[in-house]
Symmetry: C2
Subunit: 232 residues, 2 copies
């Protein structure tokens, strides 16, 4: 049973679950993957902690992991990119395998190994080098917005969390287009709030966008239903 350490934010967890369901071949309820999901909305802000401006979320992450274990989860996914700063610390606490969202993204990349990949993420994800280091180990260079652009991305993510989607969509579209114009082969929507805001974007930009939430959902389906991965 897939355990989802969620609530960061709550709507991003809902978006992730929808993507798990949609990526599962099924003709009736019973074909679907069993999931237990903790939407632990009260986990302290991950970016604030990384930037030294807020409390450590690790105790709350650990407590939520234990709730998932108690409910019978057999593997874990965390639909929050920034929370992956604590991936190794959490993995050290549990025998259950915890999928890594950056590995799931890299498994979706199809271009040449030395391509530059743009990343739209929280300031916490950027400061903790979650994508830079793991993309680098897999042979990809990582491109980021400049400081002013990063501030805009941060503002847009807050707008999504507060439910103001349309303003967020415009900001994020602009920042994604800037990364493509700077030569990135693809742009990862590397905060789970971002695909919620960019769901309605069409046109040439759409083909450049990689949805980290969707990549993690597919990796979960493949892990829980190996026959699906073989057939794909």
């Amino acid at each position: 049973m897939l355990g989802v350490l969620g609530g960061m934010g709550p709507m991003a967890t809902v978006d992730f679950m929808a993507k798990v369901v949609r990526n599962t071949p099924a003709s009736c309820d019973q074909d679907h993957i069993r999931m237990v999901v903790c939407s632990a909305a009260d986990i302290p802000d991950r970016t604030a902690a990384i930037l030294g401006e807020g409390p450590d979320p690790l105790p709350a992450l650990r407590e939520t992991l234990l709730r998932l274990e108690a409910a019978g989860a057999t593997r874990i996914a965390i639909p929050c990119n920034t929370a992956h700063h604590w991936h190794a610390a959490l993995q050290a606490e549990t025998p259950l395998p915890i999928l890594h969202i950056v590995d799931a993204v890299v498994d979706q990349l199809t271009g040449p190994k030395d391509a530059r990949i743009g990343v739209l993420a929280t300031s916490g994800t950027v400061a903790a080098r979650i994508y830079q280091d793991r993309l680098g180990r897999r042979g990809y260079a990582c491109g980021l917005p400049d400081a002013a652009g990063q501030d805009e991305v941060t503002r847009a993510i807050r707008l999504v969390k507060a439910g103001h989607l349309s303003e967020a969509t415009e900001i994020l579209r602009r920042e994604a287009e800037a990364l493509v114009a700077a030569g990135m082969q693809a742009v990862v929507m590397a905060c789970t709030e971002i695909p919620v805001a960019l769901a309605t974007v069409e046109g040439p930009l759409r083909a450049s966008l990689i949805d980290a939430t969707e990549a993690l959902a597919r990796a979960c389906v493949a892990a829980c239903r190996p026959e699906v991965a073989l057939a794909a």
Copy 2:
């Protein structure tokens, strides 16, 4: 912490969670309700069991309830109308309060007490008299499609579960319009798959539709955040 006994079907559970999040006044993650959700997609078909054509889902429902208790839930919601046939049996097993979806629907009704309320539901929900009896106790009469119409509703619900939304939308729109034409003051979408299919319906029909999933979501927010209910 709200416990959601879900997976019936999996996308209906996702739809319910989205409605809980959207009905919660929030400006950041930490304003949201904590939830633990079991999407137990392998629970045997509820309608088949009620009609004597399939295995009893009660053992699987009970096991899922225990998982939610183990994870720390303090009250329970079941986003599946048909599963409410086992509401009393499940309530007898747990000290945690289990909200009832029909009570949540009745709390949304605004018309005169003797109004006739149409109900679109599974054959199991109809055969088990889940709406007829509970609406009746609250002073409302219940109207249902005729036998051929009920077969069409059943077919549409199966189409949603298999991911064929557009055909399901047309069938359900027709059946809802027939109930309005027969004099129903409102039509309850009393299977959690139905609002997923009718989400795109606009025009005069929209005002007559009552979404049982949304009603249950609002009842959960009110139960978990009483200050919200007071402010509404």
